[in-house]
């Protein structure tokens, strides 16, 4: 059967594995976005720029402070997450009483500013950042050569995604968060500091994006535009998964990676557009997305 498809089983598995690796990025990015939208009802268009900032901070930590990748892993998300908190406090919190549209436009504007400033200062060609020596090299799996770094990406993604899902859906903290966003007044009346939780949640979502950026820094071109085209794909993933659903974002993220991987084998030119075709189909059949709750 495989021969009919024009590809050997080994090659197919190799492509699927690669697809899964890409899916990890999609999953982590859309997880952050889904948290921010699902819990806060903010359409965070700055997400792509914050992913890019994560990569840039990683480079800056090495370039200016000599701090290696392993320092960047916790620090970059913290730094960018903190910047996210500032953004939320200064800009976004003024828009909660308004239509979604304004939050989207504001965050889109912020993304343009961030990208423009970095482009002015660092150019667009990309900055060099090598794979940390502990993670270089790879394993010959028989059907393909898997770089250690790519395996690392999957491991980190799965842990982070599962961990986040667990915290939000299964722990008390998560329950408080979900309550706060469903009914802020009532939850506030119970004594919970709702604005603080909202701010921290936004910061966490942004930190997730930045973490994806740290992971991307050694293997993808580190330039100010790296998040720009990615952001609409990530949006599509979140919409397909169901805009309020954490699990939906994770599953769809990995799923899209796989589908994109397959498309790259059979119709590579279309691999950039397949996500939108799927999104259109899903939205027309199941309007709230695959795992969504409200129509």
């Amino acid at each position: 059967m495989f021969e009919l498809l024009g590809i050997t089983p080994q090659a197919l598995f190799g492509q699927l594995l690669l697809g899964l690796i890409n899916g990890s990025f999609y999953a982590m990015l859309s997880l952050g976005l889904a948290i921010i939208f699902g819990l806060l009802n903010i359409i965070n268009f700055t997400h792509g720029a914050q992913y890019m900032l994560g990569a840039f901070v990683t480079w800056a930590l090495l370039h200016y402070f000599g701090l290696s990748y392993w320092w960047a892993l916790p620090l970059a998300p913290l730094i960018v997450g903190a910047s996210g908190i500032v953004i939320e406090k200064v800009f976004i919190s003024r828009l909660y009483h308004l239509d979604h549209l304004y939050g989207l436009l504001l965050t889109f504007g912020l993304a343009l500013i961030i990208q423009g400033v970095l482009r002015n200062n660092y150019g667009i060609s990309g900055l060099p950042y090598s794979i940390p020596p502990e993670l270089s090299g790879g394993q010959n799996l028989g059907f393909m050569f898997l770089p250690n770094y790519r395996a690392w990406i999957i491991v980190v993604s799965v842990i982070v995604c599962f961990g986040t899902w667990f915290v939000i859906e299964k722990t008390r903290l998560g329950a408080y968060l979900r309550a706060a966003t469903e009914n802020p007044t009532l939850t506030g009346a119970f004594g919970l500091n709702v604005p603080l939780m909202i701010t921290l949640t936004y910061g966490f979502g942004v930190a997730l994006a930045a973490l994806a950026g740290v992971l991307a820094a050694p293997i993808y071109s580190l330039n100010p535009n790296m998040g720009a085209e990615l952001i609409i794909v990530v949006f599509a993933v979140v919409v397909i998964g169901g805009m309020g659903s954490i699990l939906g974002a994770i599953v769809t993220g990995f799923g899209l990676g796989l589908i994109e991987g397959l498309t790259r084998v059979f119709y590579p030119e279309g691999s950039a557009v397949v996500i939108f075709v799927i999104m259109a189909i899903v939205l027309l059949i199941k309007p709230a997305g695959l795992f969504g709750r409200t129509a």
Partner: protein, 328 residues
Amino acid sequence: MAADVQKSADVTPVTDRGAKGMSTFHMLIFAGLFVIGLIAPFYLYPVFLMKILCFALFACAFNLLLGFGGLLSFGHAAYFGAASYVAAHAAKVWGLTPELAILAGTGAALILGVVIGSLAIRRQGIYFAMVTLAFAQMVYFFSLQAPFTGGEDGIQAVPRGHLFGLINLRPDFTLYFVVLAITFGGILFIYRIIHSPFGQVLKAIRENEPRAISLGYRTNRYKLAVFVLSATFAGMAGATKALVFQLASLTDVHWSMSGEVVLMTLIGGMGTVFGPIVGATVIVTMQNYLATWGAWVTIVQGTIFVIAVLLFREGIIGVLSKWLKKPL
């Protein structure tokens, strides 16, 4: 969704005038703008002015959908760009005269609007917007792949031709007045749509759709109708632009073009009559004069977005309208 938009924008509703047609005040403003339009090419570069006109029409068409229909489309570049390609192809390969080429482009946008609109209308709010985006991305992909669009080269060397087979449109000056007529015609037509019984029903649907349904209106039909109208006029703007610049390229169908028209409408004033015209003028002028600054254009545009959303949600005309206490 746009009910919140209107309330928070806090602009005196334009459609309060009902179906009485054009108010005297607006008539005067349109006349004034037209006179400015007649004089301007003697002082400013006509091609620059024509760009403003085309985008003014594009923004008005978008505003019809967003400000008056209450529907946010993320993919309006699809109609603008598709019409641009069809008009360019019609003028260059089929050898049609310019007015027929523009008609062909507009027609293509209309068809595309019907197809995408009928699918998108089934959803509300952000989902509606995402469906429009998905389809716009597909149009972009198609434009990239299809041989007739020329890929990233676009369709170049589009002949301006002879209007009705008689008037040579190659001189910028002559073409300017034709473009002025087309865009003004389009904008006035949009104005007429807003100030009509149809416009009244749209307003009702935008403010309280379930109530409109309960009153017996087939809201989906109205929403589809305004979508198609908006797409058609966006197409007319795109087709005209193709003849002005003698070029149709991927920029016209890219999602950043969709973003730009949102910015123009936002800055000018959503739900106002003259807002999009002002917004288009501001953005096109800014791009023109800031282009030397390279990446600064992005920064400035982003800053304008942020400031507009935080402080000037009503847009320039919205603020002016509040100050004058008259609908604009």
